[in-house]
């Protein structure tokens, strides 16, 4: 529309892009600051007269990253986080898919009530739930083991995923399943050959969300695990890089930055699915 006044177009652009720019700056500022902090020398960091948002070329260093990878068990923590997040997400997704299908399609007595109950368990503050869960974990002899996390993470991953998938599965027309039944499928085949392929956006969305919840968890991994080599990324960076009152800022920020990368990468890869999964309904 190269119409009328270039002034009007400019005003419209300003009205749209200026607020967006502000928001993007606000959202990305922490990342920028983290990155900057992780490559500045300690001298530059502790020099309060310097502008914290800028760095001179002479003050760049890779020392903090070196420390991270050689003097701490950072790579182990990274592996632990990855292991725990992937397995707990996988377990939760299997449970959620089966639960969502059962609750939406199989008309058993109390199905509706059960669905609501599942969502309500999600509302129980997870920061309080760790108290009774500590007892469960020790009863299962899983204290100080990564399995403690794999077992407890589903308590907050499953309710949300189930609720999301229930909403998504309700948009799949029932006639398709009736047709499949007449074609000779049993329930499990309907689930695997018809429902899951059609629910892929919802499943991807739920998986991404579950993974990021598991990856970002601090409280449970802090409470259930003490040995350094078993810590996850969040706990390791927090506890090992703050010794007494000494903050290894550079490494802290470096560790946090690296820790953010996997989730960002996954979201970027599956962005389209995520959006369509959230705005469920665009299948037919």
């Amino acid at each position: 529309m190269t119409d009328r006044h270039p002034a009007a177009a400019a005003r419209r652009a300003l009205g749209i892009y200026a607020p967006l720019l502000v928001f993007v700056a606000f959202a990305l500022f922490p990342v920028y600051h983290m990155f900057l902090t992780s490559v500045k020398t300690d001298r530059a960091l502790y020099n309060l007269s310097l502008n914290p948002l800028m760095v001179s070329l002479g003050a760049l260093t890779a020392e903090h990253y070196r420390l991270l990878f050689t003097d701490t068990l950072f790579s182990t923590w990274l592996m632990n986080s990855l292991l725990v997040s992937l397995s707990s997400t996988a377990i939760s997704m299997v449970i959620s898919i089966l639960a969502a299908y059962g609750l939406t399609r199989i008309r058993f007595r109390g199905a509706d009530a059960f669905g609501i109950a599942i969502f309500i368990t999600y509302l129980v503050p997870y920061s309080l739930l760790f108290l009774p869960l500590t007892r469960v974990v020790s009863w299962l002899n899983l204290s100080d083991s990564l399995w403690a996390l794999v077992v407890t993470y589903p308590t907050f991953l499953v309710p949300f995923s189930t609720w999301l998938l229930m909403g998504y599965m309700k948009t799949i027309p029932e006639e398709i399943e009736k047709s499949a039944m007449i074609d000779g499928c049993n329930r499990l085949q309907i689930l695997t050959r018809i429902i899951i392929p059609l629910a892929v956006p919802g499943i991807v969305c739920a998986t991404l969300f579950a993974f990021s919840l598991a990856w970002n968890d601090l409280l449970y991994s802090l409470v259930f695990i003490s040995p350094t080599e078993k810590k996850t990324l969040t706990v390791g960076v927090l506890t090992e890089l703050i010794r007494g009152d000494v903050y290894f800022w550079g490494s802290l920020m470096g560790g946090a930055l690296i820790g953010s990368v996997p989730v960002v990468v996954f979201y970027a890869m599956f962005m389209d699915y995520y959006v369509s999964g959230m705005t469920a309904g665009a299948i037919k």
Binding site: I176, K178, S179, M181, I182, D183, I283
Partner: protein, 377 residues
């Protein structure tokens, strides 16, 4: 033999009964239509026959086998749904192959059947497309194709044309009729559209609130309806039904309604003798009421009355007139060139040879109806 027998079929949902002791037979190669207003239980009945729902009571036989406890896939049926129910993530070929591959047919057999069906339905060049790349009519054909390749004993259709636009519906109606002739199979077809029922059915089962009202050939339901519900449901525009009294005048029986008083033809009056001075419901189809010019009243057994015109609708081939009759309205037809407008008083010729009388009390049975009609009292 692909004969479908339904015996005292009942389905209850909690305290409400959707299907009430329904019994009918679809003979081999018959095109049986289940029809009725919304909520009459026709789709529920179809689901029970298919096995998608379990009956509360009654028996269903497909080809001499009792199928009540059989899974849908073992009943040798195929179903076509109102919204096609194609698998969106598979192309047309895969959609049609799905049921056959689930049953373990060989690839060559599947391929052969699909191409055969595609040729019959004219969808041969759509086989690699996904459903979302097809029009409504094409999707419907694929859904029918998916049923054909199964070569079932009984085809079940659940309002398959309801989602199509009017023109396409007319076209598909003809195609389905021809398909039935070509495939020579038993079809049970559910619809709420009585035009579809009249044009396609060998026999019709008319349902109301889960109870069958009348079962018979389309023309039987049309010209010998068993009650006012059937009379008013089959045929469009619907039969005129007005309350009336039977009176005697000079030895002849007369029908006296709010706006006319006409004699019953002598050759018809025998069954109505006992109704003298009684109240009834008088029924006459719109095509048997003709609005005419004053000087063109037909001779013979037609009687005439002068009625006030309420509405004139031009349909091209004829006029449809709505006439005032006391508190009721009558619908009559007329030549398209008849000079008439709303508010005129028009002579209307009644072809009393085609009249029906129905009982005033529910269920308003037709007086003189055959004893063996299956309607419940």
């Amino acid at each position: 033999m692909a004969r479908l027998v339904v015996e005292n079929l009942t389905k209850r949902f909690g305290s409400s009964t959707a299907v009430d002791r329904l019994s009918f037979v679809a003979e081999d190669r018959e095109f049986l239509v289940l029809i009725g207003p919304s909520g009459c239980g026709k789709s529920t009945t179809l689901n029970l026959i298919a096995g998608l729902d379990e009956a509360s009571a009654g028996r269903i036989y497909i080809g001499e086998r009792l199928v009540n406890h059989l899974h849908p896939k073992d009943r040798d049926i195929a179903m076509v749904f109102q919204n096609y129910a194609l698998y969106p993530h598979m192309n047309v070929y895969a959609n049609m192959a799905f049921g056959l591959s689930m049953r373990g047919y060989s690839k060559t057999e599947i391929d052969g059947r699909i191409h055969e069906a595609a040729e019959i339905l004219g969808i041969g060049d759509l086989l690699l497309r996904k459903p979302k790349a097809l029009s409504g009519g094409q999707r419907q054909r694929v859904a029918v194709g998916r049923a054909i390749v199964r070569k079932p004993a009984v085809f079940l259709f659940d309002e398959p044309l309801s989602n199509l636009d009017a023109k396409l519906r007319v076209q598909m109606r003809a195609e389905l009729s021809k398909l039935h002739q070509r495939l020579n199979t038993t079809i049970v077809y559910v619809t709420h559209d009585q035009v579809e029922a009249m044009t396609m059915a060998t026999r019709i089962v008319l349902l109301k609130n889960g109870v069958s009202q009348q079962i018979g050939r389309p023309l039987e339901l049309y010209s010998r309806p068993v009650n006012t519900f059937t009379a008013g449901f089959i045929g469009t525009p619907p039969m005129n039904l007005v309350p009336a009294r039977i009176e005697e005048q000079d030895g002849r029986l007369m029908v006296a309604a709010g706006c006319f008083r006409l004699p019953i033809p002598d050759n018809l009056s025998a069954p109505y003798e006992k109704l003298k001075d009684g109240e009834v419901i008088f029924g006459l189809r719109p095509e048997h009421l003709r609005g005419v010019r004053e000087d063109a009243l037909p001779a013979g057994d037609a009687s005439a009355a002068h009625l006030e015109v309420d509405l004139v609708e031009m349909l091209g081939s004829h006029l449809q007139l709505t006439l005032k009759c006391g508190a009721d309205r009558l619908i009559a037809l007329a030549d398209p060139v008849l000079p008439v407008k709303a508010g005129d008083w028009l002579p209307v010729a009644f072809d009393m040879n085609a009249m029906h009388l129905f009982a005033k009390e529910a269920p308003h049975r037709r007086i003189g109806a055959h004893v063996d009609s299956p309607m419940e009292p």
